[in-house]
Symmetry: C2
Subunit: 237 residues, 2 copies
């Protein structure tokens, strides 16, 4: 399948490398190809330069967001959550219409001051989740692009485990799926199965993306106390 | 130890019965003793009448909230989250000062209309979490009663498992603790160990109660799709 991975950070790289290994034709999208390739130092999250990484993955293409999305059958949103709507708007609904969009992002807001912030393993400022409780990033995307088939998944765990669950305890942990389009959810479920996921829980419609996006504070707190991101939740039942 | 369990619903009963079995002297607190004992039908959550239940637990006392709190060394908040601050205010800071309060409640708001609610296994109206993201019920309690030693715990799972984790997969799942008072957290940790908890993760200060209170939407979504509440999260690492 032709897949566009929007975003060149750790999340995008994990999906792109895994999808390529599974035989898919992957184009990674970025805002500015020249700038992405020119960067020589680690990014804000400590991720190594993209140019170094893609040299080791020669079958993966890099293109501008719009070109990457235009040629793809399925899209993976691996952009930072607070930039997602802007990126998709720049791509344009014509390039997104009818396509499945697997949304992996978390709407972290780093700009709204909080009187007493939760400690963040990323340092200051601590992010807060926005939207939350009565809305979610996934629903915002769906409302903005009603002809795109939005599915929320793998947003509750570390980038390196999203596409390779077997790297932790033989994959004995859980991933959640939310979406309003049953066929799109089925397609994402198949992708997750190919990644190695065995415990995929379909939570229902896209409103349930609120529930998984709201895992982020627990994820951050656990990252802080465990001192690493090599963990995930399992629904024991 | 003399323990007050505030609230006579499923959460209060689970703790009270278990604590009594562990040799503690338990008084359950309720707003109106006569009304609680007079109820003959199931409550809003489908819980059987209290009078029937306490007949099978003759060593547990029932008292008004204030009397129950006044005689206790440790308190467990098992009230509905949207009633907690009112209940504690009625009890009065003098009866709460210096005491450990294990807060198990979730601040479910059933009154604020939501344009598109998440489905609720409890039927309509769907609750939303309030406060959330930048504040939590546990912090509200702590701010209102600065001399009370608030510890948030066991708020992420079903009542019947809070005090009896071994009932699910031999207790191989996780419980979280948040609080600003280290000695109080230690006391709660010991209580949890007595309950049978083996994987207790101390998330840090009370701001991290936001993280565990924000599990509630996932808990509700899972209850809906699994069709039962006999589950819990395990942090696989």
């Amino acid at each position: 399948m032709k897949i566009a991975v929007l975003g060149t950070g750790a999340v995008g790289r994990a999906h792109a490398a895994r999808l390529t290994g599974l035989g898919h034709e992957v184009t990674m999208g970025t805002r500015n190809v020249v700038a992405t390739m020119a960067r020589t130092g680690p990014d804000a999250m400590g991720t190594a330069p993209f140019a170094t990484w893609i040299e080791a993955h020669p079958s993966i293409s890099l293109a501008g967001f719009t070109a990457a999305a235009a040629r793809a059958d399925l899209l993976i949103n691996a952009t930072a959550g607070h930039t997602t709507l802007g990126t998709l708007t720049a791509i344009g609904s014509g390039n997104l219409s009818g396509k499945v969009l697997l949304d992996t992002a978390t709407p972290n807001d780093f700009t709204t001051p909080v009187a007493v912030p939760m400690p963040s393993p990323w340092g200051t400022p601590s992010p807060i989740l926005s939207p939350a409780v009565t809305d979610s990033l996934a629903e915002q995307i769906q409302r903005s692009f009603p002809e795109t088939r939005v599915v929320k998944a793998v947003n509750t765990l570390a980038a390196h485990l999203m596409a390779d669950p077997a790297a932790l305890e033989d994959g004995d942990h859980t991933v959640f799926v939310s979406g309003d389009d049953t066929a799109a959810k089925q397609q994402v479920h198949e992708l997750l199965t190919a990644y190695g996921w065995r415990d995929v829980i379909d939570l229902g419609g896209l409103t349930t993306a609120r529930a998984t996006e709201m895992i982020q504070p627990l994820y951050l707190a656990l990252t802080g106390v465990l001192g690493h991101e090599h963990f995930n939740l399992k629904v024991v039942r």
